[in-house]
């Protein structure tokens, strides 16, 4: 029997789309169908590539048969445990889908960046990046209590649900970040939150980006737990807030707090005190309200997408920022940036680079990347290759035919 026929048998012909003679896109409607697709692909030694929201099949560069498995029909909440604040959601649901389901029950997945809202759950979990970190809840993977996935042999695994455990390695965390190479994530159990009683936002003007960074870490050391923080340098503030002209070298800090009213107020006041200690002052709260609406209410943000995203630990954030700005100035261009995604590991700088009145060319971007790395930054999406041999060995055991997303993390 041909692979195409077998795929049609597995998920129904309506959900199999031939892309060319050896490429198909299939859309299973259940974990059992995913397992069946993978089993069939394995018998043909065909590659299995997961596709989340917005993902597209890539054309083969060889003659290997490929099955691109879309998660879009895995769009159900399998269980909502309101007592434990846990949701078991299928991999094709986006953060926004989940928010629509949870919102009427006064529940939420939490205060995560917009990328989490627009991505499918399977995609968020399969790829490890700091772009999904929340000042209030930590890294998105920290919200994962359990994962269901299909291995290369077509067997489904379900890691046990427990608030914490001491029964060996965290096997769910082995699947998260593995980009579909260890298993195809079909659903996950996530911690969710009751919508906060109070939400407060505030904006502050500080004499420098360094002072703003210091104020943030001062407040975090006083255990403030903000729901969001963002620092804009003066040029970036001018683009994000047309008409706003900060004094040269100054910075705008927007901060959100949430929780029981007294605690949200306490956190806001701790941040305000830290700002004052660093020579800053409160400014127009409408700036912070607009920032929050852009993050969580879909209001558009002006300006192009940042050309450089760099993570830095708390002690390196300042150096990375100044290194990138200085490098672009040396090349006759300019960099503007905002810094957000503050968590225990550090923060992420989003820089927009320009030269000659246009978006910076590849050479300038590469130079800025090098400068950021020399200053101690980590480019988002980078790979550490030092453990590749162990990952290969692990895949040799689980997937000897290398059908699971071959070419990825290789």
């Amino acid at each position: 029997m041909t692979l195409e026929r077998e795929l049609c048998d597995s998920v129904g012909a309506a959900h199999v789309e031939p892309l060319d003679a050896r490429n198909w896109r299939v859309a299973p409607g259940s974990a059992a169908e995913v397992a069946e697709v993978i089993r069939r692909a394995r018998t043909h030694k065909a590659a299995v590539h997961p596709i989340g929201a917005g993902g597209r099949p890539t054309r083969s560069t060889d003659d290997r048969a490929r099955v691109h498995v879309a998660t879009r029909r895995l769009d159900q909440v399998l269980q909502l445990d309101e007592m434990s604040l846990l949701v078991h959601a299928q991999a094709g649901l986006t953060g926004l889908d989940l928010e629509r389901i949870l919102g009427p029950r006064n529940l939420s997945i939490g205060d995560y960046p917009p990328g989490v809202l627009t991505s499918s759950l399977g995609g968020i979990l399969a790829v490890r990046t700091p772009g999904k970190s929340s000042a209030r809840h930590g890294f998105f993977e920290d919200a994962v209590v359990g994962v269901s996935a299909v291995l290369a042999n077509g067997r489904s695994v379900h890691t046990r649900i427990a608030p914490r455990r001491s029964t060996g390695p965290d096997l769910a965390r082995a699947l998260c970040g593995s980009e579909g190479t260890i298993g195809f994530i079909t659903s996950a159990v996530l911690r969710i939150h009751v919508r906060p009683e109070a939400r407060l936002v505030a904006a502050y003007l500080l004499p420098s980006v360094d002072a703003a960074i210091s104020a943030v870490y001062l407040a975090l050391r006083e255990e403030a737990a903000p729901s969001g923080l963002r620092i804009y340098d003066a040029p970036e503030a001018g683009v994000h807030y047309p008409g706003l002209a900060l004094p040269a070298g100054h910075a705008l800090l927007c901060a959100g707090t949430a929780g029981p009213t007294d605690l949200a107020t306490c956190d806001r006041d701790l941040i305000a005190s830290a700002v004052i200690a660093e020579g800053g002052e409160t400014t127009d709260p409408a700036l912070a309200e607009l920032w929050w609406r852009r993050l969580h209410a879909g209001e558009p943000t002006p300006g192009p997408q940042p050309s450089l995203q760099v993570m830095a630990t708390p002690s390196k954030v300042r150096a990375v920022y100044h290194a990138v700005v200085a490098e672009l100035a040396r090349l006759g261009g300019a960099a503007r940036a905002h810094i957000s995604r503050f968590d225990a590991d550090g923060a992420v700088m989003f820089a927009t680079l320009e030269r000659g009145g246009a978006a910076a060319d590849d050479e300038a971007v590469a130079a800025a990347e090098r400068a950021a790395q020399v200053a101690g930054g980590w480019l988002l999406g980078a790979r550490a290759h030092k453990l590749d041999a162990y990952l290969r060995a692990l895949r040799d055991v689980l997937d000897p035919d290398r059908i699971m997303n071959p070419g990825t993390l290789a």
Binding site: P260, M311, G381
Partner: protein, 551 residues
């Protein structure tokens, strides 16, 4: 024991790596390193039985390169490697089931660096918990990890078992505080995981190695997250009508987003035993709060003063349980008779507990941290508890718990001396399943032994239950049979209601037979990791329910 080991050759080659002073094949050392604090092994030890499984040699490395060398040697000779920290494990994880080389990490004990700006420190695996926390307190930080074994456990042991400290509700379990590991794998290679690497793609090797109990690698050092030392500490005692109301109250607090450092709810029997454990302190506290004793200074972190030698008359909670069961002055035979009819005792004690402790269940709660936020959070927390029906008993019960919180670990010997045994079973589940878990496990253990429980290590999504049980039998063999039956029935009940079989003690030998039920098909991932990191199966073989090659 491993057959066919050339002991003379092994000794020569080990001494070439470590020098003669850091290698031992002495009988007394082999006997000492044959066990950890797994109570089942203590049953035979009490009767004078020699250990069934002893290592061939013990080594004390001081540097990661020595760990590499000994693992390469073991790999060549197909000899098992068993890592050993403080030896405080209670699941037999450090037992050298097939002999081999036991690596005692305690000479790797440096705090290499404290990165203040990052709130990170680099520390070697063999450092004792007490010394680690004192060193951090001296610099104004805390790791926030305070297991009851803190005086006799090591950082590496914590990481290898995913341990929890008493203040885990605020600081998290040890896996929440670990930013990276240095590990020597079964291939004899050093790997460093993660670091400041949420920017990096790929699975989290740190989370894959944490909790592997020496089966995937030997942890030699770690990068750990710190917190500023607390500026303020607030403790209170509450009473609440029953376990169900207490559980609901804790859930209410945690799901509001409040993070006390510790919350402990004692069931009716545990509450009763607690009041017997500290009657003098309670009486003093009730008569005159000022006499309740000095409060531990905040600046020492959560470490208390050294508990000193054990009292001649055991007065710990568990010893009181024995005393209670045997009427304190009855003959030992009566104790055995009482504990032997555990179902009856559980029922009787439950009734007595209910009647005597009309006031309900005891709940201890404590917060610590930065001054302003802790004050606000404490007020909100206490308010939520009162809304949930808890009655505030003031600060003294909280401070009394804080003063005595390490004592119980050092007061189990009298129980064994009296011919009985005691152990603890720490399971966990989501809130939805928690009361089912409590009733099921309590009933399962209660068929065999006197059992009580407290709820601690709470999270927004669930909680751990810590069962303490005391049993007895006529001889060591009978005690072992009873002990095995308790664990079998308790863990089967746990799995049946969807709980996890261990919250923080680990697996070792004790829970290895239950790993298949715990992880089901997902064990395939653990076994694949084992094959990748330890292809010859030399690392801590026979543990954690892993199959595959053995040396």
């Amino acid at each position: 024991m491993q057959a066919g080991v050339d002991i003379d050759r092994l000794q020569r080659e080990l001494e070439a790596i470590f020098g003669a002073r850091r290698v031992s094949l002495r009988a007394v050392d082999l006997e000492t390193y044959a066990r950890d604090m797994w109570p089942r092994l203590l049953l035979g030890y009490r009767e004078g039985h020699p250990a069934a499984n002893r290592p061939h040699a013990i080594v004390w490395p001081e540097h990661v390169r020595e760990v590499v060398a000994v693992i390469k040697l073991a790999r060549e000779q197909r000899i098992p490697i068993v890592p050993y920290g403080g030896g405080s494990g209670v699941c037999g994880g450090a037992v050298p089931l097939f002999g081999g080389i036991t690596i005692d990490t305690k000479r790797m004990q440096q705090v290499r660096a404290v990165h203040s700006a990052e709130l990170i420190c680099d520390v070697e695996a063999g450092l004792s918990g007490e010394r680690f926390e004192r060193e951090l307190a001296r610099r104004g930080y805390t790791f926030g990890h305070f297991p009851s074994s803190i005086y006799c456990s090591t950082v590496g042991g914590w990481l290898a078992t995913r341990a929890a400290g008493q203040l885990s509700t605020k600081y998290g379990k040890v896996e929440d505080r670990c930013a990276g590991l240095t590990v020597v794998t079964g291939r004899g290679e050093v790997i460093e995981t993660d670091g400041p690497s949420r920017a990096l793609r790929g699975p989290s090797w740190t989370q894959l190695l944490l909790g592997s109990e020496g089966t995937l690698g030997v942890i030699t050092s770690a990068r750990l997250r710190l917190s500023p030392a607390p500026q303020l500490r607030v403790f209170r005692g509450f009473e609440i009508d029953d376990v169900g109301a207490g559980v609901a109250a804790i859930r209410r607090v945690l799901q509001k987003g409040l993070r006390p450092a510790v919350v402990r709810l004692y069931d009716e029997l545990d509450t009763l035993m607690n009041s017997f454990s500290h009657p003098e302190a309670e009486a003093e506290a009730e008569a005159e709060p000022a006499l309740a004793g000095p409060r531990p200074p905040v600046e020492t972190g959560a470490l208390p003063t050294w508990p000193g030698p054990p009292p001649e008359e055991p007065d710990g909670l568990v010893a009181r349980l024995i005393g209670f069961a045997k009427g304190k002055h009855l003959r030992q035979a009566a104790t055995h008779a009482a504990l032997g009819k555990s179902q009856l005792v559980n029922r009787l004690v439950g009734t007595v507990a209910e009647k005597i402790a009309r006031r309900g269940c005891r709940l201890i709660i404590g917060l610590e941290g930065a001054r302003i936020r802790t004050e606000v959070e404490a007020a909100l927390t206490f308010h939520e508890l009162e809304v949930a029906g808890a009655r505030d008993k003031g600060e003294d019960p909280g401070w009394a718990w804080l003063r005595k919180r390490y004592a119980v670990s050092y007061r189990m010997s009298p129980v064994f001396r009296d011919g009985a045994f005691v152990d603890t079973m720490e399971v966990a589940s989501s809130w939805e399943r928690l009361m089912d878990l409590y009733h099921s496990v309590r009933a399962a253990i209660g068929r065999h032994a006197v059992v009580m429980a407290h709820f601690s290590h709470g999270y927004a999504d669930g909680c751990s239950i810590y069962f303490t049980f005391v049993g007895t039998a006529d001889d060591a063999a009978g005690a072992e049979r009873l002990y095995d039956a308790i664990w079998r029935d308790g863990l089967e009940a746990t799995t049946r209601v969807g709980g996890t079989i261990s919250h923080h003690h680990g697996v070792g030998l004790l829970k290895a037979p239950f790993m298949a039920g715990e992880h089901r098909e997902a064990m395939a991932i653990f076994e694949a990791a084992k094959a990748a990191l330890d292809p010859d199966g030399i690392l801590n073989p026979g543990k954690m329910g892993l199959r595959g090659p053995r040396p």
